[in-house]
Amino acid sequence: MIDRLAFDVAHLFAGGLVLVSFMLLYQDRMFGLLNIFALHALVVSLSVAWQAYIQQAPHLYITAAIALVVKAIIIPVALHRIIVRLGIHRTIETVVGIGQTMLAGIALVALSILVMLPITAQAGTLAREDLAFSLSVILLGLLMMISRRNAVSQIIGFMSIENGLILAATAAKGMPLVVEISVAFSILVALIVIGIFLFRIRERFDTVDVHALERFRGEQP
């Protein structure tokens, strides 16, 4: 039986993650975005650590530590340096306005709660809300990836999706391979960040315009 406090704290962290996802949505400066992402990773790491404590699953502490060290510290610092080096700390171009994005975000959260809560009755109370919250975080991350035009915000959107997945995986009590999966994800993200740094795909940061893509596709002169 989960006691009341354990339950409330777990919800606090999961709900906080959704809130931080919203904060990511309305950032219009690169450095602000990085700081908020570090906060996102910190919240997910606290949430995983709390789950490790209440489920008595010590291996989850490893996942929490990875989230803290890699995503809250190393990657934001690395991205910060890349941004300074490439001189791209300008305002972030958005495809649609912030207001509409926030409205769409609210609709997505409502949608995920409407979808997840009724059908996860069997899954146990804690897992149930956490799955709904994590689906919200995933959808908000997707929204961020499509509503931003530059590569750094797309990476951050992807990493926030990843945080949502880790929340879901830890909420599904006793799921095997969570540590392995979080390691695999970290490798993926690290490689991509290194890739940006090595290849210096500068033009990626300037325009990620659909028209620029079509030129490469050879369909347009």
């Binding site: 979808v115 997840m116 009724p118 059908i119 996860t120 009755a121 069997q122 899954a123 897992a127 799955l131 994590s134 689906l135 995933i138 997707l142 990836m145 590569a151 797309q154 992807f158 999706i161 990843e162 997945l165 879901a168 995986a169 599904a172 009590k173 006793g174 799921m175 095997p176 391979l177 392995e180 999966i181 695999a184 994800f185 490798i187 993926l188 490689l191 991509i192 890739g195 290849f199 795909i201 033009e203 990626r204 620029a212 893509l213 490469f216 596709r217 050879g218 369909e219």
Partner: protein, 482 residues
């Protein structure tokens, strides 16, 4: 460790893994191409051995009737592609498109990709399968960007964004499957073991399974290249090295579809859950029709055949979505033939792009005059892929269309229309490529034609005569797929 089956499974996984490390360290030399091929050949022998010795399923790995055929096909095409790759890469080194350091990287990644695909096929744990598919995605992203031109980086980036969103959705689906299983099976590895899932799916919560399947279909479907999630596929095929295009089309798409099939089997085992068929039929049909019309607008030869891959993955998904022994049987056949044919086409296209120095179709004319072997190889390949008799693909497409006619005539008409439209596009383009007045550069081809003709001959032979044990085998697997 006396069980020969367990040894073979280890060999299938460890040969590529260790040769990846070896090839990364091996001093740059022409011999690496041959070593790569040798490693792939050994893997193929080990995989073929799995037909005869089968290990008991463990919590992580399983060899059953379904995946053994996929594994053998995977390692076979992996081997022939490595033979093609040796001559292709030698030419890329000569013209300086690849430096020796990148060559090492390329070979290490090739073997890592083979390892990841074999692991995804042999995995019993759905989480492990997901990790393997992710690893395969990663290696192909790196290989697509290997030429480092703006277009190649663009393609790799797009592939990364779409591919990682796809695998993220697939992971969420996997977690939901675990949540559904945990209530029945209990916590731990068993709730992710695929054989346990299928055996006990009947008592899982059907609504959770439904939601999970939607995520899995969208997630792994992105990797299959089903429309509307296909946007990464043509770019990745066109900008990467051609052996990678061959492996992508011939193998990686199959592996992703295999993942969808595994979960489809879980869903079919639960009578209350949503029938997975209609979803797959819809996505398959949209892919076929979309790709068939898009074929007309292509100017780049590799991009055109990439669209043809979307079309064929659509046909296969359609067939498995229709379900039933006959459609599944045809789907399995089509999957095998498409792997063989499409990689053969990419082998010839790779050499054509090298001798012509371009991938633009307008600059390639009269291949049968200037390079008879290559040109006629391409003609034969395209004749096979569009499904002309007596090739194997004719038989499988015929089976799919006729079995659909018996059940859903309207769907069969739409599918047949898509097939004909695609046939028209490919034959139209082929006419320009293979015949007419030669144009452009005409470097002599230094190529190994054996892999290409070996594949095409296999498909031809299978179209004329498919041995009875093989038919029985495919029918058995088709029945298992439900």
């Amino acid at each position: 460790m006396t069980d020969p089956g367990a040894l073979l499974v280890r060999a299938v996984l460890l040969i590529p893994a260790s040769s990846a490390a070896l090839l990364a360290l091996f001093p740059d030399d022409r011999a690496t191409g041959r070593l790569n091929a040798l490693a792939a050949l050994l893997t193929f022998f080990a995989a073929a051995g799995l037909f005869f010795f089968r290990p008991a399923p463990s919590a992580f790995l399983i060899v059953d009737d379904v995946n053994v055929a996929f594994t053998v096909l995977n390692t076979f095409v992996g081997f022939t592609t490595s033979v093609f790759s040796a001559s292709y890469i030698a030419h890329e080194l000569d013209i300086g498109r690849l430096t020796p350091v990148y060559l090492r990287f390329y070979h290490a990644m090739y073997q890592t990709l083979m390892f990841a695909m074999n692991l995804a096929l042999l995995a019993n744990n759905v989480g492990l399968m997901w990790v393997a598919v992710e690893l395969a995605t990663l290696t192909t992203i790196l290989m697509v960007g290997i030429y480092r031109t703006p277009a190649a980086l663009e393609a790799a980036w797009k592939y990364f964004i779409l591919g990682s969103v796809g695998i993220a959705l697939a992971l969420f689906g996997t977690i939901l499957v675990y949540v559904a299983a945990r209530a029945v099976v209990g916590e731990g590895l068993d709730a992710m073991a695929w054989n346990v899932l299928v055996a006990r799916a009947g008592s899982f919560d059907p609504t959770l399974l439904n939601l999970a399947f939607v995520f899995l279909l969208l997630g792994y479907g992105t990797k299959v290249g089903l429309a509307p999630l296909h946007a990464w596929l043509p770019d990745a095929h066109a900008e990467g090295p051609t052996p990678i295009s061959a492996v992508l089309s011939g193998l990686l798409l199959n592996v992703a579809l295999f993942a969808v099939l595994r979960f489809k089997m879980v869903l079919s085992a639960n009578p209350q859950a949503l029938a997975p068929g209609p979803l797959m039929v819809t996505m398959g049909l949209i892919s076929v029709l979309f790709a068939a019309f898009m074929l007309y607008r292509r100017h780049d030869i590799k991009r055109m055949f990439a669209y043809s891959s979307i079309e064929h993955m659509g046909i296969i998904t359609f067939a498995f979505g229709m379900g039933g022994p006959l459609a599944n049987f045809a789907g399995l056949l089509h999957m095998t033939y498409h792997s063989l044919t499409k990689s053969a086409i990419f082998f010839s296209v790779g050499h054509i792009a090298q001798v012509k120095g371009t991938q633009t179709m307008a600059d390639i004319r009269g291949l049968t005059v200037t390079h008879p072997v290559l040109g006629w190889g391409l003609v034969l390949g395209v004749m096979t892929i569009v499904g002309l008799p007596p090739m194997g693909i004719f038989m499988s497409e015929f089976l799919i269309v006729t079995s659909t006619f018996a059940r859903q005539p309207a769907l069969a008409v739409a599918l047949a229309a898509g097939l004909l439209v695609a046939l028209g596009a490919l034959v139209l383009r082929l006419n320009g490529l293979a015949f007419g007045e030669p144009r452009g550069r005409n470097a002599p081809a230094e190529a190994s034609f054996v892999p290409m003709f070996a594949h095409l001959m296999l498909v031809l032979a299978a179209g004329i005569y498919l041995p009875a044990p093989l038919v029985a085998w495919f029918q058995h697997v088709a029945k298992l797929l439900g």
